[in-house]
Symmetry: C2
Subunit: 215 residues, 2 copies
Amino acid sequence: MASYSTADIASWERFYRANFINSLTGFKSVNLIGTVNTAGQVNLGVFSSIVHIGSNPALIGYINRPLKAAPHTFANIQSTGIYTINHIHPSFVQQAHQTSAKYEEGISEFDEVGLTPEFRDGIAAPFVKESLVKYALSLQEIIPIKLNDTFLVIGEVMAVHIDHDIVAVDGFIQLDNTDTVCSNGGDGYYKATLINRFEYAKPGKIAQTLPVAGE
Amino acid sequence: MASYSTADIASWERFYRANFINSLTGFKSVNLIGTVNTAGQVNLGVFSSIVHIGSNPALIGYINRPLKAAPHTFANIQSTGIYTINHIHPSFVQQAHQTSAKYEEGISEFDEVGLTPEFRDGIAAPFVKESLVKYALSLQEIIPIKLNDTFLVIGEVMAVHIDHDIVAVDGFIQLDNTDTVCSNGGDGYYKATLINRFEYAKPGKIAQTLPVAGE
């Protein structure tokens, strides 16, 4: 095994370092965040830093890069307080990735990449029509991370749209059944296959596998 | 598609809600965090909330649940300032999951589940010998999330151990080549398969696929 120190990492060319550190954290949830600005202009961006904060209340976070690098989604969430998170599937991986291009504020990424904005339930932010698992969030808190000028943006789940059939009797959503995609690094998109579910672990006896839907 | 509101979610039985919200965020990076307390007692826990904060400096975060639910890893990181993050592979998924059992502080999860602590490079925290991709972090900041009494714990990468062969020429670590596992919900473990890598996206032309190692 090779070993790399902080000094080694700091010495690397910046794209090499970004690829390496971005993949070091493991496979990631990758999603499209839909927003609208105060003039009604829709925006769509791909984010791979969605993180579970808690289930009760249902809080979900994401890391926004420094404002100079990623201004539009952040500004729209700040001004409207509402955004959507949409799972990505293999049929539109390339379009999803393309939303990472730096389009001007007046441009709709939906139009540019060929995805369809969908407004439902009186929620101001657009969902992605092509997505099979999607939810809207109401902004709860923006926490600045001073170490590198990023932000932890936390929202509460206010509306979920999903096929009821894919939710197991215990609430587990078996995301391989919806072909939800995950990512690695900044540009690798992956399909996931279930190895096993395990029962709730307790000391003294190793947790056994759980039956899964269809078995 | 079914729709669920904040009120629906709040009304659900707590394990159903936890399963649902935990899988709603998509596939997750799942890892073992290794720590040691001031008395030298090793600790190992499974965490599925690792999040990339930035590449330069190389900062990686994770969400620690409220202290009553998850005290040991957090206390050890606070007192020593050092911890390791270790990727999980199919050969020890069951052992990794078992570290989520609530063992007493004096118990080593390494011993209980059958994994091997490995000390290297003078770093006080234990790595997991069986892991093929692992790194040590030095604590930079603990940010309390007052909304639900959780914490964002941020460290800087101080040592990475990985087979050099699996790092592509551009720094990308193709994690399916190491059989790194990802998770869904609190108890589902998955294998990931590459769909495609895409080039850096720019406005005006849809990003094309990148060649991957072995092609």
